[in-house]
Symmetry: C2
Subunit: 434 residues, 2 copies
C-alpha cells in the first residue's frame, strides 16, 4: 500500500455499495483522509440487476466506475482489494494488496447469497447478486433456447424451457415478470422453430405471500399481475433440492428444469477478526451511531449492520434505502466530529415492478398499483442511478424497449471453447459470461 499518511485522521471504508459510496461521497475530505476498498472498480445498482439478466439493460448502464465518482475530490484513495481480516488492536486491515492502517474503520461489506446450507442448490442454481452473476444468468437463459433447438425428445425440450425462480421477494417477482415479457413478446419471433408455449416460469415463495415485506394489498396485486402474465406462482412452498435437472419441492413435487434461479435469501457478508458477541446472525451489532458495541472507532452500515431503532426489537431490514441513509448519516456524523444525534431511518416506502405498465407501490399513507405505480417506479429508479450518462442511456433503452417490444441485448458472450451443454460449466461458478 503506497497511500501516504496524512496529518488528518484516516477513515478506511470497506465496500463501495450504497452505504459505502454515500459515505465516501459526503464525508469532508478536508477533515479526513478516506481510503475506499472494494473488490470491483465499480458500484453496482443492484435493484436493476434483473434487467441485465433479462436482456433489458447493458451492464455498463447500472454500474458506475468508483474512481469516476471521486475525480474532483482530494484525499480520497480508491483501491481494488479483498479484505481478509481486521485487527482492531493495531487498527489495521489485512488485504490482498497488503495491510492498511486506519484511525476509523467503516465496514460496509453488504450481503451475499444465502443457500441455507443446501450444497446441491448452491452448486447447480444461479444466484443474481452481482453484475457478473446477472450476466451469466442472461447467457444461461438464452442458451437454453438455442440448446432446445437441438433436442429431439419433448421432455428434453421442456426441461430447457422451464425456468424456476426461488424467492418471491422483489428480485424474484421482477425477474419473473421480465421473463414473462420475453416469453410473450420477444422469444416467439426470435425462435420460430420452437413452440414457445412450452416455456414455463415457476415462482416459488416460502411464506404465504409474495413481496412479504410489503402490504398484503401489494402482494395480492403482484400475484394477480404475475398470473395474468402466465407465471405459475407457488406460495407456502420451498425448494429442497436440485441436481441440475430436477427441482425437488418441499412437498415432494418435482419440476424438471435446467435453470433454477436462486433469489430466496441473503445473509450478511461480515469480515474476520471479530468475536461471536459482535454479531447477531452474521450482522454487526451497532449502537445509535452505527458504531460497533465493543469496538470504538469501528462502524458498520448497510446490510452488514444490525441496527435496532430505539425501543424496537427487530433490526432494520437489509434494504438499499437503509444503506443509503446510513451512509449519509455516518458522513454527517464524521463531519460533525463524531458528535451528532443518533441515526433515524425514514421509511419512504417500498415498490416493485412486475412488467410493462404494472407495478405496486406502498407509501406511508398511499398504496397504489398499475400504470401510475409503474411510472413512479421508473422515475425513482432512474433518479437513484449514479451518473447522468447512465440515466440517459437507461431512459433511451426503456423508451426503446417500450415502443418496440424488442430489447436489443440478447448477446450470449461467453467462452466459445466451453461446451454449453456440459454440466461442468454449471459447477464452475468462476467463469464469466457476458
Amino acid at each position: 500500500m503506497n497511500i501516504e499518511k496524512q496529518d488528518r485522521p484516516r477513515v478506511v471504508v470497506i465496500g463501495g455499495g450504497f452505504a459505502g459510496l454515500n459515505l465516501a461521497k459526503r464525508i469532508n475530505t478536508q477533515k479526513y483522509q478516506v481510503v475506499l476498498i472494494d473488490k470491483n472498480n465499480y458500484h453496482t445498482f443492484q435493484p436493476l440487476l434483473y434487467q441485465v439478466a433479462s436482456a433489458g439493460l447493458e451492464p455498463d448502464s447500472i454500474a458506475y466506475p468508483l474512481r469516476k465518482k471521486f475525480r474532483r475530490k482530494k484525499n480520497i484513495h480508491f483501491r481494488i482489494a479483498e479484505v481478509t481480516k481486521v485487527d482492531t488492536k493495531v487498527k489495521t486491515i489485512e488485504t490482498s494488496i497488503g495491510p492498511i492502517s486506519y484511525d476509523y474503520l467503516v465496514i460496509a461489506s453488504g450481503a451475499k447469497t444465502n443457500f441455507f446450507g443446501m450444497k446441491n442448490v448452491e452448486q447447480f442454481s444461479i444466484p443474481m447478486k452481482s453484475l457478473v452473476e446477472s450476466l451469466n444468468l442472461r447467457s444461461r437463459i438464452l442458451e437454453q433456447f438455442e440448446d432446445a433447438l437441438n433436442q429431439d425428445q419433448v421432455n428434453e425440450i421442456n426441461k430447457r424451457l422451464t425456468f424456476v425462480i426461488a424467492g418471491g421477494g422483489a428480485t424474484g417477482v421482477e425477474l419473473a415478470g421480465a421473463l414473462a415479457e420475453l416469453k410473450n413478446k420477444i422469444l416467439p419471433k426470435d425462435y420460430p422453430d420452437l413452440d414457445i408455449r412450452k416455456m414455463q416460469i415457476h415462482l416459488v415463495e416460502g411464506s404465504d405471500r409474495l413481496l412479504a415485506s410489503m402490504s398484503t394489498k401489494a402482494s395480492e396485486k403482484a400475484e394477480r399481475f404475475l398470473k395474468k402474465l402466465g407465471i405459475n406462482v407457488w406460495t407456502s412452498m420451498r425448494v429442497e433440492d436440485y441436481d441440475g435437472d430436477i427441482v425437488r419441492m418441499k412437498d415432494g413435487m418435482d419440476i424438471p428444469s435446467k435453470t433454477l434461479i436462486w433469489a430466496a435469501g441473503v445473509s450478511a457478508n461480515p469480515i474476520d477478526g471479530f468475536q461471536t458477541d459482535d454479531f447477531e446472525r452474521d450482522r454487526f451489532l451497532v449502537d445509535g451511531n452505527c458504531q460497533l458495541l465493543h469496538h470504538e472507532g469501528v462502524f458498520a452500515i448497510g446490510d452488514v449492520a444490525s441496527f435496532k431503532p430505539a425501543n424496537e426489537d427487530r433490526p432494520l431490514p437489509m434494504l438499499a434505502s437503509v444503506a443509503m441513509q446510513q451512509g449519509n448519516y455516518l458522513a454527517k456524523y464524521f463531519n460533525k466530529n463524531l458528535n451528532y444525534k443518533n441515526f433515524k431511518y425514514i421509511d419512504k416506502g417500498t415498490m416493485a415492478t412486475i412488467g410493462r405498465n404494472k407495478a405496486v407501490v406502498d407509501l406511508k399513507k398511499f398504496r397504489f398499483s398499475g400504470i401510475f405505480a409503474w411510472f413512479v417506479w421508473m422515475f425513482v429508479h432512474v433518479m437513484l442511478l449514479v451518473g447522468y450518462r447512465n440515466r440517459v442511456i437507461v431512459l433511451v433503452n426503456w423508451f426503446w424497449n417500450y415502443v418496440s417490444y424488442n430489447n436489443g441485448l440478447r448477446l450470449i458472450v461467453r467462452n466459445s471453447k466451453e461446451d454449453p451443454k456440459s454440466n461442468e460449466k454449471r459447477t464452475n461458478k468462476k467463469s464469466v459470461h457476458l
Copy 2:
C-alpha cells in the same frame, strides 16, 4: 439437427460476419431455405471493436443478435455451432450440433489473428479480433493502472504503464489514438495517485509507413496526428519476442511492458475437408461468381475467399467492404437462379480515425484529413452499424464522450476469484472478462 427439409434448395451459410449476414439478409427465402451457422448468436461490427477495448462503447452497441435480424423472415434458420468439416461428396457439413446437409454451401468464416508462428507472442500478447477479446483487453488495460498503484519500484510501475501495440494498420492506429485520449483526458483525473506522464504508448509497424493500404498522404497525416498525441511511432520495426514482461524488437531493442496488443496480422480461417489446390495462403480460390474452382455449389465470400478480379494478379484485400459487397452479390446471384454476371468490387475508399477531430479519408478522387474527415468517419460508421437502436446508443455515447471528455465505461468485470496479478491469467485465453 431438427431443421425440416423443404422442397426448396437449402443454402447453408457458415459465418454471420459482414459477408454471411448480408447474404442471408438479401437472399430470397421463397426460393431457398437458408441455414445460417455461427459460433456466436450475434454479428460483431469489427471496425468499432477498438472503442470497446478503450472503454468508449459497450459491447451491446456494436453487436447485433442474429436472430433479431431475421424475425420477419421465413425459411431462415439460425443455429449456434462450430463447423468441424465439410464433406463435399455427400454435401454435408459436420458441426458441434450434428451433421447438416446442403444443396449449396457458402463459406464465410472470415479471418483469425495471425501470430506468424511466434508461440511466445501468441501466449502473452492480447489480440483484438472478437468482442470477447476486446472486453478482455479493456479489463487488462484498466487493471494495469490499478496494479501500478500497488507497486513500490518505479520500474514495475513503468512496465505497467507502458503499452505496446504491434501493427500500424487501421486497428493499431485507431487503438493507439484512443489510448492516447485516455492518457491525456481521462486517466489523470481517475488516478491522482499516479504520475500519468509515465504512461507510454508505442505503436510498432513492420513496413515503412502506417496505414500501408492507404495513400502516403494519409500515412503521413496519421503519423503526425499520433505523434502530436504523444505516441511513440516505430515504423520499419517488428516485434520478435515477448515473455509477458519485455517486448523484444527486431533490432534488439527491449521495451519493458506488461501489455502487448497484437494487431499485426490476420490470416484466413478456412474449414477442413478441402485440398491444398483449393487454397492460396489459406484463402479459398474462387471464380468470378465466388464459387470454388473445384467444387460446384460451394462458394466462399469475405476474408476467407481469394477473389482475383479479371486481369489482376492480386486477390482483393481482407476488408469489410469487400465482404459486404460479396455477400450482397451472392444473394443476387442466387436470386437470379445462378445466372448473373461476375462479381465486381467497387472501391468506395478507406478511412481511419486517430482521435477527437482527427481522421484520414482516401476517396477515389479526394483525399482529406482533420475534423471534416472525422465527421465523415463517424457518419459512415454509424450508418454501417446494424440496427437502429445501436445507432442511437452509439451516437448518444459519442456525443456524451465528446462534450464531457469522460467516457463512462471503465468497468473491470471479471472473475474476482482470479488473481489479477498472476501470470497464469495471461496464458488462459479462455477466460472471459467483460
